[in-house]
Amino acid sequence: MTAYRLSRGGRIDRRRPVAFLFDGKPQIGFAGDTIASALLGNGVMLLGRGFKYHRPRGVFAAGPEEPNALLTLGEAGRREPNIAATTAELVDGIVAQSQNRWPSLALDLMAINQLAAPVLGAGFYYKTFMGPAKKSWMRYEPLIRRAAGLGKAGVAADPDRYEGRHEFTDVLVIGAGPAGLAAAIAAGRSGARVLLVEQDFALGGSLLSEPAGALEADWLAERIADLGRLGDVTVLTRTTAFGLYDGNTAGLTERRDHERPDPASGRARQVTVTVRAGAIIFATGAIERPLVLANNDRPGVMLASAARTYLNRFGVASGKRIVVATNNDSAYRAAFDLADAGAAVTIADLRAAPDEILAARARAKGIALLPGTAVAEVLGRRAVAGVRLADWKGEDQPIGSARESIEADSVLLAGGWSPTVHLTSHRGIKPVWREDIATFVPGGFAAGQVGAGAVIGTFTLAGAILEGATAGARSAQALGHDRSGAADIAIPAADRGEDGDLRILPAWRIPSRRHGKAFVDLQNDVTVDDVTQAWREGYRAVEHLKRYTTLGMGTDQGKTSNINALALMAGLSGAEIAEVGTTTFRPPYTPVALGALAGRAVGAHFRPVRRSPLHDWHVANGATFIEAGPWLRAWYYAWAGATPAEAYIKEMEVVRRGVGIADVSTLGKIDVQGPDAAELLNRVYVNGFLKLASGKARYGVMLHDDGTVLDDGTTTRLSDTRFFMTTTTAQAGEVMSWLEYLLQTAWKDLRVHVSSLTDEWAGMSVSGPKAREALQLALPGEDLSGERLPYMGAIETALEGVPLRIIRLSFSGELAYEVFTPADYGIAVWQHILTAAAPLGMKPYGLEALASLRIEKGHVAGLEIDHRNTLADLGLAKMAGREKSFVGKSLMQRPNLNREDRWSLVGLESLEPDKKVRGGSILFAPGEELKGHGHGYITSVTWSVELDRTIALALYDGALKHEGEEVIAAFPLKDEQVRLRIVSPHFIDREGKRLHA
């Protein structure tokens, strides 16, 4: 016999059937079902296979603790593996598949692993697959992974949307069982803003498992109505609090599969919510743990509380002949309800003298109560066929020989309760052992946090409600919300006799005299024997046990297994369970989809993109773009060619032989203002700035305080108290922060303010022998002669009333001007210059040409300034003022920064024209073994239109001491070597005639 749907009862909506597929077969459930309850209702008992041994597995639990019934849901891009059938809300059209079986669930040939069970014990792969060769493991691993494991993720792009959201609340209540409902209502009545989150799709927690029509059900309906009347209480169902973080911050995952959200409408399927709360109330309840006995993994074996949930919530009976194996009172509730539903129930209670009231009730319901009796073994292979019973006199006494076997189609296990302490432990507060209820409870709470109900070991309904109400009112009060009577919440009269304290006789394993695996961790196929073996091999700490056996890993993170395993370890060691302790609880509490964590940070929204004020012009005029840090920069233009290799050479030629214009808006630009502005610059630059005249620009280099080069750039004096600094694109933010840091900490006495102007001003470089002529055409009324605007001169002027700053300086090595204008006018000014200079053949040039031109000139840039080199390394030692002080001056004297063999700037010319020279190539001396770090590396490489050959800049041991020598540039990734010659890094116009023209 299998589980079956009762003709009535449960909280499902029988008027709304829901169709779905399981392993290709059509199934029908009802609205309000989970996939697990629908399959059980249809008599489907086999839902999966064990991790290692591929033993048949069925539904074991009714919540997120489910270790067995993991399914793959959805198809193609929506395929999602390892979803617990017990938490998946049934939605029309779901396509569910079983996992980890081949070729089918019913006929899984991988079950042959069971024959190899003797060698598949704990840590078998650490021992078995290390030989015979050194890298044997690399060959075995894929095979092992294929043979064992969980579901497989899809590779198709997920079409659904995911996103993140921030929420703020006074009181966050986690869990909407009796304690959580009471807490939310009390806090809400107090006037606090409340967020109540519940992982289930229905509110009620354990109350959902009470029979319809019971007093608890009425209470739940009334409290839900109360919540609806409170204005500032937000309720999120289908939302799991998966992590607790600093500052009363919690991470939630909100699922919306029931809405079938259409990504085309912008609605997200899952949302990661970051909640910052004034107070947090944990009402997370408790999870039942099983008894560990032989063959406790057979389909048809489940937790007693789960069977009760399936019965009362979903109208599904787990079987008709049911054996309840228990060591505590709580299982009696399931036994009573199942007996009321018509099942033949036997209770095998380890306790010799169960509670008399319960015993009397059991007998009154026709239940066979067997005190002092253990279920020693479950019979059957693909389904429960019966149990073998034995006398039980305690864990320290030998189990009796098999007394009798009885037929059964369902075995329910009740080994006690484990409070759901996971979240309360995420911030490092370890749970503590409570002997009286044989379980771990939270070891305390951080400020602003409190627990209520089963999570702190209160298992009575009345106790949970009282604690919840008190926690809600007090949490609100602590935040300034206080109304008398807020915590007055009715308590249902629980006269059923079962709502007592948890009376339990701890039992951590039921030994069997016969063969049969007793699983501690069903998801990872870890047995009692595995735990024993690990202990025998020296793994005495629980963290070691976990890693050696994989116990407690996987999607369920050992929710049903950890406590039993700890207790077994304690028993083996002769230690108290409290001494053994727990493993560390870390987020997430239940699995979180990577999509939900990524949210909308995918595709075009993966990261912010920074665009120049001239971007739209580049788009409209055939630019191809390239990412440079956050910037999207014009790489090259279609006028010059279809490929970068073709285009940048033409663009370089325009600059070298005529005139070009390039977008340099990405340069960092900083307004440095105040009476002490010159003094600030004089301190941060290695060269002097005190005497820089207004209308003049100066190239400057600044150091980190450790003496290495931070950045270079040009600063222009606009007036006595105002300077316009430019930095490299890459270091703009760092330089700005550095200046602010110095002004706010070291030099608070300086009257200077700095402001970023990077976004305020567009910049363009007009460069080439005809640059002056071109600008003159654009600005016919302006005197741009060498007398008025010499090299490193600057003027502020206007074009049709639009401000312009023109600075004569050169990155390309040609006569050149940088023209700056307020950003919104950037395109207009750029277009004006291009139009005016069209008769000269002016063309735009992109980043590739810009970078190549500076290599020819031998200007260092970000590729050379790698924050490890000194002024001398970059050939800039002469810039440092000897008489003045500057940041980094002291530490640049360190011996290590002044060694003669430091890698320093050199130029390289290729001696093999037919070979490609790659940036990053390692430099070796000819004949030297190409191994290790060599003597330096190539930083930048380009084709030189002037020299008609490949040239490069490099950092090389001893630098120009080796001028004229040959080196080998090796690129091991492609096994390439090229011969080059060391030359001066200034490939063109060493005298600077062009830029001074």
Partner: protein
């Protein structure tokens, strides 16, 4: 005549997107025609700078970031201990007057009018869209109409100004403006949005 080009010229004017059920619950757009002037005083002279500012704008200088002040000249935001932003009509002479009035020994005046793009979102679901990225409590109890926050969205720093209950203005860095717009439009999608014509000097 040289024309200004907004950082959002490629998307405004433009089309919005209907949300769930075809809803159009939000309006996105850009407020243009403003000048943004930064005034920073030196520590010992900030009092003088503030009194000049107050006299010039006809209102007091805000004490904190959260509560800006709307004066006859425009909005005044506190953006740092010794720093304020003035958002005033572009056509006015406030910049010139400030530059004249605040001597270099007291403080500095910097024109940042082109450095920020002012994106607005308006509609009953604006908070729901913004909370997808702003790590701020956007309830009216914490950020009332008229209040502001220096914060960040999509990894970029912004000033967020709640102009009315449902209308927020985001002062985004110009070079990041299009990426912030794209983020905001995407966040608004499920509620449905339309793209408004550019507003000249709205609320200044």
């Amino acid at each position: 005549m040289l024309e200004r080009t907004s950082a959002l010229a490629s998307v405004i004017p433009g089309k919005g997107k209907p949300g769930v059920g075809g809803a159009i619950g939000l309006q996105l757009g850009e407020a243009r025609g403003f000048a943004l002037i930064q005034v920073a005083g030196f520590a010992k002279a900030m009092g003088k700078v503030e009194s000049r500012l107050a006299a010039l704008t006809g209102g007091r200088v805000p004490e904190n970031v959260r509560i800006p002040v709307q004066t006859g000249a425009g909005w005044v935001f506190r953006t740092g201990p010794e720093q304020v932003w003035l958002v005033v009509p572009a056509a006015g002479d406030v910049l010139a007057r400030l530059t004249r009035e605040i001597a270099p020994e007291f403080g500095v005046v910097t024109d940042l009018s082109h450095s920020r793009t002012r994106i607005f979102i308006d509609g009953a679901r604006s908070v729901d869209a913004l909370k997808k990225g702003f790590p701020l409590d956007l309830s009216e109890a914490f950020l009332a109409a008229g209040e502001a926050a220096l914060t960040g969205v999509h990894h970029t720093p912004v000033l967020l100004h709640r102009v009315t209950r449902d209308r927020f203005e985001i002062y985004a860095m110009r070079t990041f403006a299009l990426t912030v717009w794209a983020w905001l439009a995407d966040a608004s999608h499920e509620f449905g949005y339309e793209v408004a014509s550019s507003e000249m000097g709205h609320t200044v």
